[in-house]
């Protein structure tokens, strides 16, 4: 995992993640300020017009940007589900979209114009090839709109297209729980747990946990939300078995439990963005790039 591009390029501490967003936002905001200033100097505006400009063309704050990104990331999920794409490809689409807007600001690229491009590239990257014409037929925009930012997207992704999602670890833990708790788990119950957790993983991928934790840690956090007793028992047994072999690379149970609970609270505290909020932020985003329209 440490050799993977996901670990090398896309794993951050909370602080580093915040710092990246602040930087991305600042670069775009500085451009906005400059453009608005130029606009004011070029136009002969009344005081009232200047007041409106100042009130309605402020660049987006980092938090407002994040709301808009999350709102459209949800749209990526809905549209790719609507296209009946396999679960992992939906997850890859969401991941591509979020990463693009970690490197670029919504004030530089309209998130609407990246939604389909991220899904299209995710299909290609996951060997689920759909020609752009048939894609354009199913989705809304035309082929030029889909292809317009493909290169820019690939570059923003730092050319890392292989993503480890928490789904395979879910399958792995489904098997290993049977091994460690042999004979003590009801298989039907495990099957239902598996299905519920699979859905929850897709929700979790919409949050920042994908940057802060490894896929198996996210899976264990989701399993913990689903059935705390079962997972705690599983981990206690698994690590207590190992702890007899005092070898240097034994993962410490308490450390892992802290990480899992940290991840769990991250997933649970995530709030979705209302359409109303998104609309207001999108309007501000539009006007700060198009003061003449205002």
């Amino acid at each position: 995992y440490r050799h993977s591009s996901q670990y090398r390029f896309w794993s951050f501490s909370k602080e580093r993640l915040r710092e990246k967003r602040v930087n991305t936002n600042k670069i775009a905001a500085d451009t906005i300020y400059k453009n608005i200033l130029d606009f004011k100097n070029q136009q002969d505006l009344t005081q009232e017009q200047l007041d409106v400009l100042d009130a309605r063309t402020q660049p987006l704050s980092v938090d407002d940007e994040l709301k808009l990104i999350n709102f459209y990331a949800k749209k990526v999920q809905v549209i790719s589900q609507h296209l009946n794409l396999p679960t992992e490809i939906i997850a890859t689409s969401i991941s591509f979209f979020k990463k693009f807007f970690l490197e670029n600001s919504v004030m530089q690229y309209d998130p609407k114009s990246l939604v389909h491009t991220t899904i299209f590239l995710a299909c290609k990257a996951e060997n689920y090839f759909i020609s752009v014409d048939s894609f354009a037929k199913k989705a809304k925009p035309n082929r030029e709109a889909i292809l317009k930012y493909e290169f820019k997207l690939l570059e923003s992704l730092k050319f890392s297209l292989l993503i480890h999602h928490p789904y395979k670890p879910l399958h792995g833990f489904f098997l290993d729980i049977q091994n460690v708790l042999h004979g003590k788990v009801d298989l039907n119950y495990m099957g239902q747990t598996y299905d519920k957790c699979k859905k929850k993983i897709t929700e979790a991928i919409l949050t920042d946990v994908v940057y802060l934790f490894t896929p198996p840690q996210i899976t264990l956090a989701i399993l913990m939300i689903e059935d705390e007793a079962l997972i705690t028992k599983y981990l206690e047994l698994k690590f207590s078995v190992n702890s007899e072999k005092k070898n240097n690379d034994t993962i410490s149970f308490s450390t892992l439990l802290t990480i899992i609970n940290d991840c769990k609270s991250f997933i649970q505290e995530e709030k979705s963005v209302s359409t109303d909020d998104a609309r207001k932020i999108a309007a501000q985003n539009f006007f700060c790039q198009n003061p003449m329209d205002l």
Partner: protein
């Protein structure tokens, strides 16, 4: 280093989904192996 970092014991797993695939003609003929599937998902889990 070819020593795996975990034990894979197929007898311990009951995976109806994989068991079903294992008996299908086109899977048997293709060389489908359940141990490869288990190894893959366990590696991703323990990674």
């Amino acid at each position: 280093n070819t020593i795996p970092r975990f034990k894979l014991d197929e007898k311990l797993y009951s995976d109806p989904f994989i068991k079903d695939l294992e008996n299908r003609k086109e899977f048997v003929a293709s060389g489908f192996r359940t141990d490869y599937v288990y190894e893959r998902v366990l590696t991703e889990a323990f990674m």
